[in-house]
Amino acid sequence: MDDKKNIEKISEAFKAWEEKTNKVVSKNPERKAQFETLSEIPINRLYTPLDIQHLDYLEKIGFPGLYPFVRGVQNTMHRGRFWTMRQYAGFGSAEDTNKRFRYLLEQGQTGLSVAFDLPTQIGYDSDHSLALGEVGKVGVAIDSVRDMAVLFDQIPLDQVSTSMTTNSPAAVITAMYLALAEKSGISFDKLRGTIQNDVLKEYIARGTYIFPPKPAMRITTNIIDYCAKNMPQWNSISISGYHMREAGCTAVQEVAFTLADGISYVESVINAGLKIDEFAPRLSFFFSAHQDFLEEIAKYRAARRLWARIMKERFKAQDPRSWMLRYHVQTAGCSLTAQQPLLNILRTGFEALSAVLGGCQSLHTNSYDEALALPTEQAVQIALRTQQIIAHEAGVTETADPLAGSYYIEYLTDKIEADAEEYIRKIWDMGGMIPAIEAGYIQQEIAHSAYEYQKKVESKERIVVGVNKFQIKEPPPTGLLKVDMSVGDRQTEKLKILRAERNQQAVASCLDKIKKGAEKENENLMPLILDAVKAEATLGEICDAMREVFGEYIGGTSY
């Protein structure tokens, strides 16, 4: 960015400095022979204008709100408004979770985020044999639109933005939300929120798949199509790197695999007949905030630039909103330790700060007790307050992208973008993301990174405070949240009542229509599922209807 003559001068001065420093180091060695980021990117002793001299400011960095959006997607960034403070929450029954939601809103949370239990995420009703022991454990149990009504009791849907972590049965959950809105007289165009709807990463890392990739992609595409036409303020997908990062991949892999999934969705929706600018502005993303503070900031900046380029150059999108990578962040669950759990408050704080400095639109901060159990109210309050301290006290929100121009940050942004792009190229040499997943390539890459990291922790090349250094003897933790074991029985009872009260024939006819619709490749399943939900068909029944036609995916056994 400096002119040529100046670069020459800096280069000479740098050489002189390096020589001198090397002499010092030969007597007093540095702490390590080699330094690297958490993602194994080598780190130099110092970064100077020499490292970023190839970066043209206007082309590569530019301004917030303008292509290529390195400096953020909005012109005023957090000066305009803060990110949405959105704590992922859900446990037990709809009643339990509704209470937690209202507590969080009272505490100043600005958006909702629903965690569903595993049976709900995998399309089983609470009374299914495979649901035994799992009902209400890691999220809320939702079987029918009746549960959904309880979940949002006293929460006006036109006044909150709601994110829902549901993937394989995303169409059913979306339909329940729509049915609830309709019942309250709220038109669909007023609804704000996000449905995760990202099935590809389920095969790679998260594991809540139901159907094989092809029909699953079709349902995802149906939802994106339906949202584009009916829900203009709704993010129809949240393309997620978070879970792959949690599974152990590096920052570069997180960017590469997430954007590669994104490319696959875009291709699929275009093949279904939509034009890129009709749906791309409502695509959203979800990343992790891991522990390497500066690397994470660079990661978000790199992801924004790479996605903008992909959308403009590869897909020829014209609408600037199609170029923008808007994203939610969650701090890294895998960085939390069961040992000395209060230290997790600090870890989460640093991670959250990187998310904000990186320019996030929405943020979840983990609670300190989450390596042990689902969080208590007190732990969640501290997590939320962490965001509020960053917003109101830390001073980092008063100018857009304050770390731009840092030689290291700009170098690392460029490096992560280039390495991720190379990965994406490699994946497309294998035929694209779906063949790469089916071949187990992505899963193997992640498992490899996870094992390498663990070996570094064991050899103490990586220090985890309280785990492999600075350990103390501590009493077992107390006061953890315990999910009431009776929630499964209560849900089963509710299902009995539902099945006795509803119009059985109407349900059967709706389910039959879903099966017939599933058989026709060009039919959008969303309206059929909406009818079924309104007739009070259960989530399990609707998913079973689709299972009959689509079959089920069997997970891999490689490691």
């Binding site: 995998i122 495979l130 389920e202 042990l372």
Partner: protein
């Protein structure tokens, strides 16, 4: 039994939980420690897991669960092993398991419970020292 018998381990994910980072890391570590590792993949029912143990003639069964369903699923698996008369097997559990649940799990025959932060070496050593002891019929 010859002295050089290779230890056969079935690593299983019971229930609906999809967190497999830990189980895959352990699978690689046990393999690198010279054991024969069979990973069942996700979403295994107790019946499927016990069948895998039988078919693979496993010396060790390791169950990984992070969803909180261990209180239901672990006892069910132990019950099925008993029904099938499989007693000469070392059963270990891993995942997010609260302290207060551990005594009950040990009582039903799960010899070791390993939680986040456990060193791989600890697990490998545990297997070696607990298999070395003659099984009590």
């Amino acid at each position: 039994m010859s002295e050089k018998k290779i230890i056969r381990v079935v690593l299983a994910k019971p229930g609906l939980d999809g967190h497999d980072r830990g189980v895959k890391v352990i699978a690689r570590a046990l393999r690198d420690a010279g054991m024969e590792v069979i990973y069942t993949g996700l979403r295994q029912t107790p019946e499927q897991i016990v069948t895998a143990v039988e078919q693979e003639d496993a010396d060790v069964l390791m169950l990984s669960i992070l969803s909180g369903a261990h209180n239901y699923l672990f006892p069910r698996i132990m019950e099925l092993l008993k029904e099938k008369g499989i007693s000469d097997i070392l059963v270990l559990g891993g995942g997010i398991i609260p302290d207060e649940d551990i005594p009950e799990l040990k009582e039903i025959g799960i010899k070791g419970i390993f939680r986040p932060g456990t060193e791989l070496k600890t697990i490998i050593d545990f297997i070696h020292s607990n298999l070395a002891q003659p099984s009590i019929a």
